[in-house]
Every structure is written in structure tokens, then in C-alpha cells.
Amino acid sequence: MRRPVKLTLLLLGTLVLLGGALFLSTIRRGFSTHDEPSRMEAVVARSIRHWSAPADLRNEKNPLPLTPQVLGEARAHWADHCASCHANDGRGKADLGQRMYPRAPDMTLPATQSLSDGELFSIIENGIRLTGMPGWGDGSAESGYGSWTLVHFMRHLPELTPEEITEMEALNPKTPEEWEQIQAEEAFLSGEAEPSADHSSTDHSH
């Protein structure tokens, strides 16, 4: 047998053995969403995310002019639909987003900001397979408009102000328990309610 063939076979054999050992170790230990994605997974997932955008969309620019009204609509939309996983500031530090696999990313970083407008639009409209990102679009002009406004908002995330975040907090979806907590807090701060031991320190998940 020729030397290059032997070397190739040896290399392949080693890879199969290493892969087998990894496979056995994985199924023995099991796997969960508590783990961090490996580097290889991240590379594979980002490639798939890139290919998932239809070719004609990949290089498309946002057709919607950026106006204060568009940004305001997107901010409200984001607070209501996206912040539960991505957080109001898009940094992903939300309870749901941090429990997903992979974690909701920090969208202010280049990994997201370097995506084209068309890729961001495609992700919002069509979602990303094997992640927690659902496809919000239904192919209608209305959903397309909403998604393009969100693309503008995602570009704005690195410059989001504390004033905007405060405005968004009022628009975030809330459970009945959270509403009760907010009402108790407001009553206390305004002086309408006397201090009550029930509300001195409470869990407040984000």
C-alpha cells in the first residue's frame, strides 16, 4: 500500500476513534440545555443561520426609511414580543433567553450587527431551526413591515438610552403576579400605601 493512502487511512481511523469516544462519553453523560454550545456547534449553527436566509434577501437593504415613528413602533413591538427572551436592551440577559440552547445572543455585538439587513429580516420572519427563535412572519405585507421596523431597532440597540429602556419596561408582558407587584410598588412609592411587611423583599425574575 502506498504511503499517502496509509496515512489517510490512519488519520481517518484516528478521527473515527476520537468521534466514537466523544459519542460514547456524550450518551453516557447525557446532554441538556444547561451546557454551553461547543465551538464546533457555534460554527456549524452560524453557517446554517447564514444559509437559511434566501439568497435574494441576503444582500437586501432595509427598504423602510428610518424615522422616529418607525423606531417608536419597533421599540413597542420589541418590548411586547422580543424582550422576554432578548431583554429590552437586546443583550439577551432575560430569564428565558438565558435558559435556551443556544443562549439568546448579545445583539449589540458584531456577531449580530455584522449580519446584513436582509439576514436579520429573514431571521425575524422565518426563525432559526434548532434554536428557540420562532418565525414570526406570515408572508403578509403587515408582518414584513413589522420585521423591517425591527431590523432598524436592532441596528439602534447599541445606542439604546436609559429613557427608552424605561419606556419599554412599561410595555413588557406581565403575569398577574407581576401586575400585583407593580401596583403594590406604585402604591408604596406614591405614599398611598403604608409600608407592609409582605412586600419588603420579593423575587423578581427577568
Binding site: 451546557d35 412609592l189 409600608p195 409582605d198
Partner: protein, 100 residues
């Protein structure tokens, strides 16, 4: 072929071992008893006194609008969102002063 594909998929999804929890923060309602440069003492509504650290990242809010550190005064009612370790104030909502 199917087994190879499953093998490849499982291998691709083999993960690291880091364990991460989503965070839960706490809220503290009370009245500012003492105000210092880097911390404040709060008398919680259950009567306990708690020290809370103020950091440069602490945000302030009054009347649902962003406020400043200087808006925080002794005797004011406050709702404080604490960091996960319950030591630092992430956000301080400033209310009315407690009637004496």
C-alpha cells in the same frame, strides 16, 4: 447511512460542561435611613435595616422618568432592584418621602 447521520448529529451537539443559571433578582421596598457616597441604609417595610451598595451602573428613576443620584434623599421611599447577590442596587425607584 442513517446511523452515521445520527452519530454525526449527536457528535455535533456534544456540549461543554459549563452550567449556567438564568438569574433572579430581588426587589426591596423601604425607606432611605442613611445615605452615603457608595451605599445607603434602607429600613425595609418589615423593619429590617439593609445596606445596599450604589455603583456607577446603578440607575435611578423618579416619577417613571430617569433620575439622578442627587434625587435620592434621606427619608424617601424607594423600590430597589437588587443584583443577583443582593448586594448592589441595579435600579432605584425613588418615591415620596415618608411622613414623619
Amino acid at each position: 447511512m442513517r446511523k452515521i447521520l445520527i452519530f454525526l448529529l449527536v457528535t455535533a451537539f456534544a456540549a461543554g460542561s459549563a452550567f449556567a443559571h438564568g438569574g433572579k433578582s430581588h426587589q426591596l421596598l423601604g425607606t432611605v435611613k442613611e445615605l452615603h457616597e457608595n451605599h445607603l441604609m434602607v429600613t425595609a417595610t418589615d423593619g429590617h435595616e439593609t445596606m445596599v451598595m450604589l455603583t456607577p451602573k446603578t440607575q435611578y428613576e423618579k416619577d417613571k422618568k430617569p433620575a439622578k443620584r442627587s434625587d435620592l434623599l434621606t427619608g424617601a421611599r424607594v423600590s430597589i432592584q437588587l443584583s443577583e447577590d443582593n448586594k448592589n442596587a441595579v435600579k432605584v425607584k425613588i418615591g415620596k418621602a415618608t411622613a414623619k
